[in-house]
């Protein structure tokens, strides 16, 4: 699928190359992403999708190449880029001893002025209103994933980086993810998605990047 251009390029990867140990995971990976676009990264297990996402977020230094956000290198522009970024990895990144709500208050508090109402709206949307005072340790796997989704919703970030967001979710949960992404794209957001299944996003522009 090719995309119809719209607006300026917001996120750009240029000629990225990454090595892990003795093996080259990928080389010459380049792409551009504009407002309202979704990039679906696919490839077999272990081909380097998660590693690519980490490079794009600035967690890993690539061997060569650079990532640009609003045409500035992310390494030069870290705070600004990270303020527009919400990354959901394979792991849930929740403190097991804090409740769902406490976890969100802390993680979101670092990045945006957050109203209680927004937070509760997000928790409500993912269906955790009743469970918000349960320590994350006692949540089920799907419920933990939903807390992460609530984080993306309430973060107000422009760019969502989602690594297998459908994991552990029931059917309703997977539809919720699709709906969230569609709405986010409609709001001129950007999505980087890694998922083995096909996604159900119709709105916006979706592109595909094959790795490995």
């Amino acid at each position: 699928m090719t995309a119809t251009a719209a607006g300026p390029v917001l996120l750009e990867g240029r000629d990225l190359e990454l090595w892990r140990g003795e093996t080259r995971l990928f080389t010459k990976v380049s792409f551009e992403l504009r407002a309202g676009e979704l990039l679906h990264i696919v490839g077999p297990n272990g081909c380097g999708k998660t590693s690519l996402l980490r490079v794009l977020c600035g967690l890993t230094l690539p061997e060569t190449g650079d990532v640009y956000w609003r045409e500035r290198k992310i390494s030069r522009n870290r705070a600004d880029f990270h303020a527009s970024l919400c990354y959901l990895g394979h792991r849930e990144s929740l403190k097991a001893d804090l409740t769902a709500e406490e976890n969100l208050v802390f993680q979101l508090g670092l990045r945006a002025w957050l109203s209680k109402a927004d937070l509760h709206a997000a928790l409500d949307k993912v269906g955790l209103t009743k469970r918000r005072h349960v320590p994350a340790r006692s949540l089920s796997a799907g419920q933990k994933r939903r807390v992460s989704l609530a984080k993306a919703l309430a973060s107000g970030a422009r760019l969502w980086v989602l690594d297998e967001p459908y994991t552990n979710l029931d059917v309703a949960g997977r539809e919720l993810v699709d709906q969230m992404m569609s709405e986010h794209l409609a709001r001129d957001g950007l999505v980087l998605l890694v998922a083995h299944q096909a996604h159900g996003v119709a709105a916006g522009v979706t592109r595909r990047l094959e790795l490995g």
Binding site: L59, A79, Y87
Partner: protein, 228 residues
């Protein structure tokens, strides 16, 4: 203008989160303190209870146990955050990582260093430390324990992705903090002999300043390497 919350807010959020976590695990929080008490009671038991001997070793015992108690806690300072993925999220927040790690270290100090300072009079009494030397010792501990926490934090950030066991962390921390130990113990010693401890205190304060200004950047750099 930034749209994200200021440094003060971020520091405060991180600090309160860590304290809250610690107090959910109150047992863990009490560990360094317990250790400190055990070590100081052990010496009179292990040696002869003669007051002169105890008094002679009091500075050494107080300072070595302070050092070891903060070492004990450094191991777990960042490990859990890295393992459960929270550290990644910190590194991806718009706030400077050095500030957040400094806040974590502050929380750590409040739980391990500060109690030692407050316990010093009791421990000193048990070891027949002359009453006059107690305020000086407390001041010296107040200046020195943050340095121990900061040094521990830098080394913990360096080793956090690594397998545990084997005492690697202590191998890295102990040589670095040796000067603090020497100056601190000397301060107590001199106070016992009624000498002026001003000079030592200034030295400790200078080391503290140095540590506070350099350590956060070091921690952040080390942590980014460990997360890579």
């Amino acid at each position: 203008m930034n749209e994200w919350p200021g440094l003060g807010t971020a520091f405060w959020l991180q600090l309160t989160r860590d304290l809250r976590l610690a107090f959910r695990h109150i047992g863990q929080a009490a560990n360094p303190l317990m250790f400190f008490v055990m070590v100081t009671t052990l010496f009179p038991l292990a040696l002869s209870p003669a007051p002169e001997l105890l008094q002679a070793i009091a500075p050494g015992v107080i300072w070595v146990s302070a050092l070891l108690a903060s070492l004990l806690a450094a191991e777990s300072l960042f490990r859990q955050d890295v393992e459960d993925g929270t550290m990644e999220q910190l590194a991806l927040s718009p706030q400077p990582l050095s500030l957040l790690l400094l806040a974590k270290t502050t929380a750590h100090w409040l739980m391990t260093g500060l109690p030692l300072v407050l316990m010093a009079p009791i421990v000193g009494h048990a070891l027949f430390l002359p009453g006059d030397a107690v305020p000086e010792t407390m001041l010296a501990l107040l200046l020195a324990t943050p340095v121990l926490s900061l040094a521990g934090a830098v080394m913990a950030a360096l080793t956090v992705g690594l397998r545990r066991g084997g005492g690697l962390l202590s191998l890295l921390i102990l040589p670095i903090v040796m000067p603090v130990l020497i100056f601190g113990a000397r301060a107590t010693d001199m106070a016992m002999q009624g000498l002026d401890v001003g000079g030592v205190m200034y030295l400790l304060a200078a080391i503290l300043l140095l540590a506070v200004s350099l350590a956060p950047a070091g921690m952040a750099a080390a942590m980014r390497i460990s997360l890579d």
